[in-house]
Amino acid sequence: GAGVSQSPSNKVTEKGKDVELRCDPISGHTALYWYRQRLGQGLEFLIYFQGNSAPDKSGLPSDRFSAERTGESVSTLTIQRTQQEDSAVYLCASSFAGEETQYFGPGTRLLVL
C-alpha cells in the first residue's frame, strides 16, 4: 500500500502567519509521530498519538504549536504566528501499535521569511 504522505512538500510563509501541515499515515497504523528537523540537526520529537489515548505533547516547543488527529487517520500540525526559528523540515511517521519500526513520510520543508 501507499506509504506515509505529507502535504505540502514545501511551504514558504511570512513571519506571523499561521501554517497547517498535513500527514496521512499508512492505513491501519494507530501510532503517529511528528518530528522537527532543523538544518544540520537530528530529529526533535514533537508529539505522539496512539489510538484514542491522550497524545504525548511533551515535545511541542511552545504553545504556538498544536496538533490534532482524527481517529486513526489524518493528522494536522498547526503553527501559529510563525517565527523564523520555526523554519525546518517537519517529518511525520506512523507505525502499528506496539511495533518498533516507524515509517516516515517525505516531510514538509517550511521556510519562514
Binding site: 544540520g40 530529529l43 504525548d56 511517521a93 516507524q102 516516515f104 517525505p106
Partner: protein, 115 residues
Amino acid sequence: AQSVTQPDIHITVSEGASLELRCNYSYGATPYLFWYVQSPGQGLQLLLKYFSGDTLVQGIKGFEAEFKRSQSSFNLRKPSVHWSDAAEYFCAVGPYAGNNRKLIWGLGTSLAVNP
C-alpha cells in the same frame, strides 16, 4: 540525560571500501537502538534495529551493527560501500515502552562515496 552522539559529522570513503559509522549513547535503562538512512529527496528509512538477543544485527542493504553495552556503542558497518550508499545516517535510541514512544536522535553522519 539521555543523548546520542555521532562523533563523525562527515565521512568520505571510496567505493568498495569498508565503512564504520560510530554511535554512542547515554541512557538510563536498557536501550532500544536504531539506525536510519536519509537519502536526498527521500524519507527516512530504517536500516536495522536492536532490542535484545544477539548483539550483532543484520539490516537491509548489507549493513550490520553491533551493540556493545560496555562501551555504550552501536556502530554501523558495511564491508563494501556502493556509490548509492551516499546519504545521511542517523542513530536513534528509545525506550519503546508504555506510552513514551520518543526516540532520541543523533545529529547524523553525512556519507560521501568517491568513485
